[in-house]
Symmetry: C2
Subunit: 545 residues, 2 copies
């Protein structure tokens, strides 16, 4: 049997477009001689539909879409994901279903049994777990059809009390098909491959795996759909970060020792591509074309400008220099050189008049008090007001340029540099921002060397440097990563060799600044634990703070 | 047996304080002759600890706290909630446990079996459901001990496939004890009473119920712990919105027909008390005393000022009038009359200089373009910059004054009037803001009549009125409530008699403005579906938009 693994970019709730893309792919698969076309989990709605799933109207539209798509399932079988009503009268309203369409109708339904409910996942919020397991016979194959997490109860500390494949294998399937919605993070491709291979090793039959591609707000789906032969070798792999169709033949999947070499994974390269896709899709799916951002002459805004230029085209990106009395000459020069290298638009708008107006207005209230945080924030907020005014006038989306290290310790101004419609590098630690800059420059200087080599500074008071108030980023980022992504506690960190007062200070900064992160833009997620929907913290708490 | 129901205000992660409050209450219960003291769900950690539960260090601190509290359980039994490690080797890391402490140690443990995972609840994110059920024998009673949701699988559409009490009842318990963390919304007290009574009706034994009181960021716990006799009559009820200790006797709980009259519930009165508690606790728990807010002369800021004055004392609340060229005279006069009535602090800071500076700075870029949204937003943002500068300089928390109707349709300026550390009335529809104003005035005019009767206006351009761009609030609020809180779709609404184009316009506004609500402050929750953690929507979507 010939099977087409259809890796598409869906748009949440955009049923007409999703249907069009699915039916186009069915026709294309048919033309290519495929007997079966396989699409991703919740393909019909896009993933994750989140609380739209609470609306009967939304589910009904999914049902209508499935009926329409089923009419294309003639002369070809179709597997795809959709939410369906739970009609058992007990438990949650919905199932997360994999549907088998054939002869113009839905011929079989598998309900997802293991519902991920950690990090960015909330599936038990909506879905009842499936409890019945049946294989599907089609064209001489017996298919064990599962949905994403159903194959993930592996390793030494299984999260669930059973594995659906342990039930399905009793029916002697000849082929596993898993439809997924598995978002990117910088280690995910390797983890995913390991989990899939572990299933093939255990059940000794081939596995076809279809993922989403494209971004949905903060979640970046990298694709990488794959066909794994019964001996665990990779028979074929779809593109990363692009829609694709992978044709495979079940006969070949039983031939051992495939010579296919999967694309080697480059961590920083993948982050780069993921972020570019994230920007591109955010704009496309919201119907915008133009971005604006503030250019400080520092590395964060330089990297964001370069990523935005690749995602949207340099002609659609406006970098605004917003100098103040504290801006160094090289800041302006470096930023101008950067925009020239990229070919992006630029403007220079001084914040001096606005800053002076605020100083004058506030002077009767501030009289006698020294220059301090309030005055620093006034500058950052004046910049945001100007950027937002330009954005409101001309229809840009403001890109936020804060990095993860800053966001973690609260080194940023609410309604100032923390503003924006999308945070591009809010999940990238400062040390990785440097690595991204080098990656961007790998075929020639785009980001001027001076931007990369000069000491980071907010330039909100004379001769200010990040290192005045923050530990070295090399050390800070390590502590942050152990704490945020590995859940290490203060004792663990001290045992690892970090200094006690530094550990306590950093953890206190992270926890005390939860209120700021609560109001930040959505952050493109590239790590296992990004701020935002994947990390949910109480603001009012007193723990390590 | 005499039992003390201990209804306390906990603080998430503040172990020392939680332990102190619990052990003080144990001593007090002992002195009052109680044989058993009962505390709420996850009392030791505070509720909800959210992703702090992912940290072993946090759980270990909970364990240490329990050991310490157990040393006070001599001559008295203690029941309280804490997270405990799952040591079965399968499933999620933790159980949500009710612990029975006696003779200085943990003598029995019940694991919560039904884990709420909807609206503001995320318990399946952390906890494995309990699957074993055992009653606890103590002083002649056989106690069926459950945790909150365990009693909620009632009604015609049960959310779970079984009820823990159906298992426990087989062991012939004489008494149900349920420890809970059941947050307030304006209908919750009635719903809760109904659910608890339904359990007593079904199992025919008395029920003791202990809830949290106090606010944790957006969640408001109203208390209302209760003792229900075996005939379903209420034998005693603890305070609402205040810590309390309710003493009850198991003998009395078997005497039918208690004459206790529960406090009648007043919807607007409860919302008022809940919001006052919410402000008070937010400030106390973050270690702040002073609030600042912008006073427009409109009803929203007037109601927030009155609530803040009650919560924090008028001397701790600074209302800032921020007039522009578009402000009407009555706005300033009305706001000044209001601050005089309340005895709050006030200041007048014109935004004219800042607004003119921005106009001048932007004029080369805006040349020839008409006054529009960008200029309106400039005013709102200039106000926010001034309020935040004062807040930064003097240590206030800025209170946000947006109402739910505005937040729903996106009628507000990001980084402008949508700023603040806490949104006080962001879950109160405009029509209920009026009702709150009347409630505040019920014993004499506090909010000047003119503020209540004049047509709502943002005053960002000449002669602007809310009604220029929004439907009547009477109609708008109804559509919003059906959509947001009852999940009605467009067809449902049209069938209810709302005009088709209006329905489509309102739903589109709600869905298109998700990006704005993503960046708003935490909103005190008083409805069944508040914006924020209880309503999770994708930003990038195209559904009814």
């Amino acid at each position: 049997m010939k099977i087409a693994l259809c890796q598409l970019n869906y748009h949440i709730g955009h049923f007409d477009q999703n249907i069009q893309r699915i039916t186009d792919a069915i026709q294309k698969a048919k033309k290519a001689g495929a007997n079966l076309a396989v699409f991703a989990e919740l393909a019909v709605s896009g993933y994750p539909p989140r609380d739209f799933l609470d609306f009967d109207d939304f589910i009904t539209r999914c049902e209508t879409a499935v009926q329409h798509i089923a009419s294309f399932a003639t002369g070809i079988g179709v597997i795809l994901g959709a939410p369906v009503f739970n009609k058992t009268g007990k438990g949650k309203r919905l199932f997360n279903a994999a549907l088998f369409l054939n002869n113009g109708k839905v011929e079989a339904v598998s309900h997802k049994a293991l519902l991920p409910n950690y990090d960015i996942f909330d599936e038990y919020r909506y879905f009842e777990p499936g409890r019945e397991f049946a294989t599907i016979d089609f064209m001489g194959e017996r298919i064990a059809l599962t949905v994403c997490e159903d194959l993930w109860n592996v390793g030494s500390k299984p999260l669930y009390t059973f594995s659906p494949m342990d039930e399905l294998i009793k029916q002697s399937p000849t082929l596993m098909i898993n439809i997924a919605a598995s978002p990117f993070h910088s280690q995910q491709a390797e983890i995913r491959r390991k989990v899939l291979t572990e299933n093939v090793d255990r059940y000794k039959i081939p596995l076809l795996y279809v993922n989403h591609v494209g971004a949905q707000t903060e979640l970046l789906f990298d694709g990488g759909s794959v066909a794994i032969a019964s001996d665990g070798s990779v028979a074929g792999e779809a593109c990363y970060f692009e829609p694709d169709m992978l044709l495979t033949d079940t006969q070949q999947l039983r031939t051992p020792n495939h010579l296919f070499q999967p694309v080697p994974q480059n961590r920083i390269g993948n982050i780069h591509d993921a972020l570019v896709m994230g920007i591109k899709n955010y704009f496309e799916k919201l119907g915008f074309t133009k971005a604006i951002l503030g250019l400080s002459g520092g590395i964060d805004s330089a990297v964001v400008l370069a990523l935005a230029a690749r995602a949207l085209g340099p002609e659609n990106v406006l970098g605004v220099l917003l100098p103040s009395r504290f801006s160094s000459d090289h800041s302006v020069d470096d930023a101008l050189e950067l925009t020239a290298n990229l070919g992006t638009q630029h403007a220079v708008v001084s914040i001096e008049d606005a800053f002076q107006a605020f100083e004058k207005t506030l002077s009767p209230h501030f009289k006698g008090l020294p220059f301090g945080l309030a005055e620093e924030n006034l500058q950052a907020r004046s910049r945001a007001v100007i950027l937002m005014a330009l954005s409101n006038k001309f229809g840009h989306i403001l890109l936020n340029t804060s990095n993860k290290s800053e966001a973690a310790v609260g080194y940023g101004t609410l309604y100032g540099d923390m503003s924006g419609g999308l945070s591009v590098i809010g999940d990238v630690y400062k040390t990785d921002v440097f690595a991204l800059a080098h990656y961007i420059n790998k075929q020639g200087i785009i980001i001027p060397t001076n931007i990369i080599t000069k000491p980071p500074s907010a330039e909100l008071r004379p001769d200010q440097k990040d290192s005045d108030s923050l530990p070295d980023y090399e050390i800070l980022d390590k502590i942050l990563c152990h704490y945020i992504e590995e859940f290490k506690g203060p004792n663990d960190l001290i045992e690892m060799g970090f200094e006690k007062t530094l550990v306590e200070r950093v953890l206190r900064m992270v926890n005390q600044n939860e209120y700021k992160r609560h109001q930040t833009p959505p952050i493109l997620r590239i790590s296992q634990k990004a701020f935002g929907m994947g990390r949910r913290m109480p603001i009012v708490a007193r723990y390590l703070s």
